[in-house]
């Protein structure tokens, strides 16, 4: 099953997504953790270490894919169970270049890559972040980033069987309730 989950920070998305990916395990095929975060500072390194620690013992095979998401199709077994965490990091890596330039069309390239992934892989959980409900007027680059992430969220939600929202450990099912119940 293709599952999309979003919500605010610290709402329990990643933990629930890990459980879902484990539920979709199809032995002897691996459960892949698609790591998207490219560390840019010490805080990121600590966050990555914390996430790795949280995944200890879950049986994930970690695949580093901070860019060109369709790359997982050549390195991984398509019959595995995938956890892609997160669209937010993927977009930041593709949009904000090391040169300091901003690629404002990065979302199109990512959508193409994701559509290839979603057409070839049938057990995947994709995580994003809901950053759309605050009373702040952002600079145009940040606003462009929000708009691009929302585009990817809507695109993935449309192509997934199940769409979930994490609300402080409670899960709201926006799409595919019957399918979700079937895996438990």
């Amino acid at each position: 099953m293709r599952i999309f989950i979003s919500g605010g920070c610290k709402n329990g998305k990643s933990t629930y997504a890990q459980q879902l990916a484990k539920h979709q395990n199809n032995p002897p095929h691996p459960i892949y953790y698609v790591a998207t975060m490219a560390a840019t500072d010490h805080e990121d390194e600590e966050r990555i270490a914390r996430h790795q620690h949280e995944r200890d013992g879950w049986g994930f095979t970690t695949v580093e894919q901070p860019k060109n998401i369709e790359g997982i199709l050549t390195t991984c077994n398509h019959s595995g169970s995938f956890l892609l965490d997160s669209l937010t990091a993927l977009l930041a890596n593709e949009m904000f270049l090391a040169t300091g330039e901003v690629d404002s069309s990065a979302y199109e390239k990512i959508a193409t890559g994701l559509s290839q992934v979603l057409s070839k892989v049938s057990n995947i959980v994709i995580v994003s972040d809901y950053i759309y409900s605050d009373a702040f007027i952002y600079d145009s680059v940040t606003e462009d980033y929000r708009k691009s992430l929302a585009y990817l969220d809507r695109f993935v939600a449309k192509h997934c069987d199940v769409v979930l929202e994490a609300a402080y450990t409670q899960i709201v099912i926006h799409k595919g309730e019957g399918m979700l119940n079937a895996i438990y």
Binding site: A135, K147, R154
Partner: protein
């Protein structure tokens, strides 16, 4: 009145246009209108009352801006609260309230 809300870029206008086409008046971006009223020093509660009188049959779309940090800027702070007050009244008056999440509607009233 039908109220459609959600975070920015969640597909609210697209949903309203698909569902109602040209059959009903769609009033989009109420939150931005409220911000311009505040910036122009208008009496917001008076304008909101008039808005409800004039848009009884409209499809009203508003961004939900209630879930972030309290802004330091007093104008944005007032904006955040005025949008909240508007939304609460609108949801009360509306025959139907729909929330959009990543392009997916949920009817909550």
């Amino acid at each position: 009145m039908i109220l459609i809300f959600g975070g920015v870029y969640q597909g609210k206008l697209c949903y309203a246009e698909d569902r109602f086409g040209d059959t009903r008046t769609i009033v989009n971006d109420v939150d931005k209108w409220l911000l311009s009223l505040i910036q122009d020093g208008k009496d917001v509660s008076e304008e909101i009352s008039r808005f409800f009188d004039e848009n009884k049959d409209a499809v009203v779309i508003c961004n939900d801006i209630s879930c972030g940090v309290v802004p330091i800027d007093p104008v944005l702070r007032k904006w955040r609260e005025d949008v909240g007050r508007f939304m609460a009244q609108a949801a009360e008056k509306a025959d139907e309230v729909v929330r959009l999440f990543c392009g997916i509607p949920t009817r909550i009233k």
